[in-house]
Symmetry: C2
Subunit: 249 residues, 2 copies
């Protein structure tokens, strides 16, 4: 298959998470530019339901690293951002016009969560275009109430994930993904061919782990998925979100 | 403020939605490359909870355009993709290892929805780097059950949004956003300064609408937000998602 390519596409396809960073901060102007690039992404009805908390305080960074499950790079990365889904700002704008914010809509939750995804990923690509490395920190959802308290997040705002940025001090391989034919379907959902794609990918990922670890890591995608979706995952999230005004009605 | 820049950053900051396209299709190889770039984005625990349905059938495209609220470019764009949050594939992988999928977790819903956002936005940036224009179609959530039926989506899969791709036949202005100082906060959430940022942005957006429409559109962000979050929005989403296996527990 001959694919159209260009330097941006080559960069996108070369993405891998970075978890070891040089011991130097990312400059404030650089962080501003990265976040501003994220703001330029599409946003549902221009709601811009995103707030970003940059944490520099070493004590707060250390605490966030612990809350995220002991991920030391949360404390050591050149910059650390917390991407929050934020309906409070639009609620305030609504109130300034005499309107009354309608809380707890599932649709607003989706809009805000998607907005954060689009904005953060655009910021990530901006950062990578500058030679920085990144790592998303979903582990902030291990203890979202404590994270919210630490960052003084008001109601109608929740921390979706953290983002480590920094100058890479490692160069890991790109992890193989499912075949594009598994993900891209024509006209209707293709259930039939998934078992074959999964079996192929299991073999590929298993070989990748074997070669990377000198044979000590023996796993594949299906085993990973059993560990991930074969049990309850962060069962506190539903109650936490309700407490913060996201009742999902 | 002197910002670090490069061609990727200039492209990211120049984003605007395109709703008029040249009458020519986007080639299959190009769509594959775009979707594959999206697959290279970060994904929570490698779950890759994304499926993309490409719709070419003119009848199905027309029907989707109607379901999205009469957005004609859904039918006329050079390519149309439906980005779906997909836990079915990982559930099948889990089952292949003798595991039992744990349905309805809010956390899994967040993971899958964020995965779709990161993957789609990376695909969008790949498309824009090739000179294509794009428009997200959140309007698919107007009638998500009908969309799901039309695309034969199984349980544990929901359509998050559509994506129009095509060669641009218009060159709209970039829409101004909130000041970066409104969105990027230091150490803790900054409630105090938001009213000022909102007032400034209201003036800026009002002027933008006035100049774009020769004075006929008189609106600002706060008015738009009153219309968006000051009333119920897609109240069917909660019931729809429950029906599809996303109970948000």
């Amino acid at each position: 298959m001959s694919f159209q390519t260009n330097p941006t596409i080559e960069m996108l396809r070369a993405h891998r998470s970075i978890r070891k960073f040089e011991d130097r901060p990312v400059e404030d102007e650089t962080v501003q530019q990265i976040v501003a690039c994220g703001q330029a992404a599409a946003t549902s009805s221009n709601v811009q339901a995103v707030s970003v908390i940059q944490v520099k305080s070493p004590e707060r960074r250390q605490r966030l690293a612990e809350l995220a499950g002991g991920q030391g790079y949360v404390a050591s990365a050149g910059a650390f951002l917390v991407y929050c889904a934020d309906l409070k700002r639009s609620a305030a704008a609504c109130a300034s016009q005499g309107g009354e914010f309608e809380p707890g809509m599932t649709e607003h939750f989706i809009i805000a969560t998607v907005d954060v995804g689009l904005s953060a990923q655009t910021a990530v690509i901006a950062a990578e275009s500058m030679g920085l490395g990144i790592c998303y920190i979903g582990g902030l959802r291990n203890h979202p109430a404590e994270v919210s308290e630490l960052l003084q997040l008001p109601e109608q705002v929740y921390p979706v994930f953290g983002l480590c940025l920094g100058y890479p001090a490692q160069d890991p391989e790109v992890k193989p993904r499912l075949a594009v034919e598994s993900v891209l379907m024509q006209e209707v959902y293709d259930t039939e061919s998934q078992a074959g794609h999964i079996a192929d990918y299991d073999k590929q990922l298993s070989a990748y782990y074997q070669s990377r670890t000198g044979g000590t890591k023996d796993s594949n995608w299906s085993q990973e998925m059993k560990a991930l979706v074969g049990k309850e995952s962060r069962p506190h999230m539903s109650g936490f979100l309700k407490d913060r005004g996201f009742t999902m009605r």
